[in-house]
Symmetry: none
Subunit: 189 residues, 2 copies
């Protein structure tokens, strides 16, 4: 399988993603708008499909196998909670704001809020925040990993693999522009 032959980052050695405050703010607003639109669309579809229980139109793969569904009780093999996209969005935002200090009371509130978008429990929220925090920390560690003397990359007599490292340095080129979500909602203010 060929890799992207178009090297997009061969200009200069170091390439970092730099955004101005203005761009940051614009992007943030756009994402917020996007979130709102999606929520509304989901809600709309829920209304439309109310004529017959469509079951879990759950966005995301929270599908449960219809195996052994005889009877009514569901003890399917899947027990692991999976946040819906909307829930994830909310959680991410809270994490960004709350600076990782989830108090017990806060957990209850969040759970209540997220229940509107799917099945969730307080434990789920708690775990999510804990995991998120731990993961962020670890990412920071890795980000500033001491570059060991990568002297030479032997082996691979031929077939030059572009780069196989995905965790050390920035390798993915983010590319997002102003999503003109729908026609003409771009104006924020």
């Amino acid at each position: 399988m060929e890799q992207d032959e178009g090297n997009n980052n061969t200009n200069g050695g170091m390439f970092v993603k730099v955004m101005t405050d203005e761009q940051m703010e614009v992007l943030r607003k756009q994402i917020a708008i996007y979130a709102t639109i999606c929520e509304q669309l989901v809600d709309l579809h829920k209304s439309l499909t109310s004529h017959h229980d469509l079951g879990g139109v759950r966005l995301g793969n929270l599908y449960s196998d219809p195996l052994v569904t005889s009877g009514g009780h569901k003890f399917s093999g899947r027990q692991r909670w999976t946040p819906t996209p909307v829930q994830l969005q909310i959680l991410e935002r809270l994490f960004e704001q709350g600076n990782g200090t989830p108090s017990k009371q806060k957990i209850k509130e969040i759970t209540s809020e997220l229940s509107q978008h799917g099945q969730i429990s307080e434990t789920n929220v708690y775990n999510w925040f804990q995991n998120r925090r731990a993961r962020s920390k670890r990412k920071q560690q890795v980000s500033s990993a001491p570059n060991n003397g990568e002297s030479e990359v032997e082996t691979e007599v031929e077939s030059p693999k572009p780069q196989q490292n995905s965790a050390s340095t920035a390798d993915d080129n983010m590319c997002f522009q102003n999503p003109n979500v729908s026609s003409g909602i771009s104006s924020v203010d």
Copy 2:
């Protein structure tokens, strides 16, 4: 904006923000989530408007990254690390040595050693051991307890089609696909 991220780089009064890889990843994921929502909504809408008695809710897990698989342009998505043969040998040997409890310090050492044979990060090593152990355990699990009068083990309860057709025939008529990540802000200097 939240400047408590510790990313306070006010060097020379430059009003720029440098996104860390983590932030980039979060952003990418969020956008991907929205794109996924939109795709599914479109799909759902198509189903609702075409046939009333659709043979079932179609919740295939289209989890492909719309940012990467968006038809046309290709960015340097995430490439996963692939161990070189030499690295694999070393890893296998270490695994067999009974050092089945790779501590953080050990991980560092191993990473240092392996980096002499190719690009690798601590995360890669960590994941490799985790996966290795889990796989071994899984294999053992399957091997044991196959007989007990109790058959009907689900073995693999997999969804009918875990793979969604890429529809790469360029004949895909979608009203509007994902938020259109065409021209981006590759690098704002």
